[in-house]
Symmetry: C2
Subunit: 339 residues, 2 copies
DNA sequence: TTTATTACCGAAACCGGTTTCGTAAATTAT
DNA sequence: ATAATTTACGAAACCGGTTTCGGTAATAAA
């Protein structure tokens, strides 16, 4: 049994394809009788319009592309969920791809999305992306784009971010508020905007509290892995016994730091306080529970989709709205690792 | 500047659309000169075929649907990654949706996928799915389907699973091997196949080692959350001091159990050993590190896609292969929580 | 009764490719 | 030289909807 098409329906009823289509789409110029006839038969034959044909006609796929640096990642999982839920409510499906935090891959995956004719793209840059040809060509091709989380100020489009400077400043201030004086920062050396901003926030907090920035307490790591956190902690443990607090720019780094201190019998938080960044599920499970910055992924995903959606709608209606940058609120989650 | 189409190319070159199409698709009946001409112009105008038209013609979308019970979940994140990587290599995009571990939602999301005309579906059932009308209608509509992880034996299709019985048996045997005698099981009461099988494996191991199954040590929880694990541990702690080991059917449950024991000054593993299930990243971060069963999500995702892909290809060529059930190997990861 | 409206329907164009089939020209075989 | 192939190309159908536009018949207004 082949799929039922409009042609089949119109043939059976002895009417034209046009009328059948109109009946299904609530056009005014269809008599009640005819409409009922069509609707009944459509239901009986379990008719669903062929979306390929609809897509070709409307030139839209009702699918959007979502590029995340890493899929197996608590924060980005929440992004994905937020996007998918919001999209689903508007009848959009989401194709998810991963850039592997690599520029080349990001370009490739973006191309793949465009070949599928997605109606818009949500993108968080790879750590090593500092060339923006690919997104600029997107924009010149009039494909709606929303950048989220790891963005670039050089691109003129809708964005949704957290205020990394402010959040990092709050994290550092929290450490200062509980009495810490020698605060180390552990950050990855790749210069993504988020890393840079968290670094700025750290320095800003020091400055505002008349604490001198000490280059030796500024530990750069290869990446943001658990292992890198451990290495960083070892550096601190071996060379800087005076340190009484660590701000790590990601939770995983923070956990690596925490683990290593524990292994070396450094009491957390009695001897040293630790705060991370993102509020991964992980942080509620460490011993002691890790203080961190809440970075609401689901909400960011939802907002990102909403921005994209309104841009898609505006495009259809040929209206041009100025681009927005939505800043999502973060807050300090104070747990046992900072006291 | 509008998008370049085949029509535009053929008009510019003064040839027919057919010939232009053939040139681009390596047909034999195009002269070398004409072919070069078309290819050059296509490159110059940055021509990419309109996939809507291709889809309509070929009646395939080169998109597959992936339904996961929960997106923010270490195991399923790995599934998603495995699927996406494998799919991408074959030119397929993946639309990801979440069933929320709820049957109604699962049906709804499946419908949404079908409306997008996906070429196939990968599905892991919600915990409360025990009605299979939706997937049966899929199969009768000849839409390729592969079930993974949470499957049903009642459905005749390709599947990829781990041997939950064997894995749970291995976990329990591991506890026995290290000398435990009173082994409790913590499992969610919803009767998904995986839960049932892990329960079976637990009992099988007891049986093979002449340990009597004790209904009182069989703790049923509402769900598989951290909280449920904590509640279960409290039950054990308050009523069954004799228990010297706990097998929890998920890592999160196990971590809840672990946390609660620690809070009540029960030494792990000295007084009680704990083993979980799945090998989440979390398990490497708890104190003590949690023993568990490795459940290789990425590999399962890859295998699931490969099965789906070959079914899609077979369908196109009108060949019918018998359905397979691929069983992925698991192994015990012995860490500090079992000694 | 004549004219103006309204209600209802269908032919056909359109979206942009792919593929079949017929045919004229060029080449080879006889 | 003619006949048989081969080469190269294009017209047109096709995929399955949506939408415009024109026209007839029924109704309302003059």
């Amino acid at each position: 049994m082949s799929k039922t098409t409009l042609n089949k329906i119109s043939e059976i009823l002895g009417i034209s394809k046009s009328t059948a289509s109109k009946a299904l789409n609530n056009y005014a110029d269809v008599s009640p009788k005819t409409k009922a006839m069509v609707l009944n038969l459509a239901k009986e034959l379990d008719y669903t319009p062929n979306s390929f044909a609809q897509n070709l006609r409307s030139q839209e796929s009702k699918i959007i592309g979502l590029i995340v640096p890493e899929i197996v990642h608590y924060f980005f999982s929440n992004i994905i969920l937020g996007v998918i839920n919001a999209a689903s409510k508007c009848g959009y499906a989401v194709v998810v791809v991963q850039s592997n935090d690599d520029y080349e891959y990001e370009v490739k995956q973006l191309d793949a999305l465009l070949q599928k004719n997605v109606d818009g793209v949500l993108l968080s840059f790879a750590d090593n992306t500092n060339n923006f040809k690919h997104v600029k060509s997107l924009l010149s091709n009039n494909v709606p784009l929303v950048l989220y989380d790891k963005i670039s100020k050089l691109i003129d489009c809708n964005k949704v971010v957290i205020d990394d400077i402010k959040a990092a400043q709050m994290a550092t201030q929290h450490l200062i508020d509980i009495g810490c004086k020698k605060i180390a920062i552990v950050r990855n050396k790749l210069k993504s905007q988020t890393t840079i901003d968290r670094y700025k926030g750290y320095k800003k907090a020091l400055l505002l509290n008349d604490i001198e920035y000490d280059k030796l307490l500024d530990i750069e790591t290869e990446d943001v892995s658990l292992e890198s956190g451990k290495k960083a902690a070892l550096t601190i443990f071996e060379n800087h016994k005076e340190v009484d607090a660590v701000f790590a720019v990601t939770d995983l780094l923070a956990i690596g730091v925490l683990e290593t201190f524990k292994e070396n019998n450094v009491q957390v938080p009695e001897q040293i306080s630790i705060i991370g960044f993102s509020n991964w599920l992980l942080t509620q499970i460490t011993t002691p529970h890790l203080s961190t910055i809440d970075q609401p992924g689901q909400q960011m995903g939802k907002v990102a989709f909403d921005l994209l959606y309104s841009e898609i709608i505006n495009n259809k209606n040929n209206v041009k709205e100025p681009y927005k940058t939505v800043v999502i609120d973060t807050k300090v989650i104070s747990r046992e690792s900072t006291k």
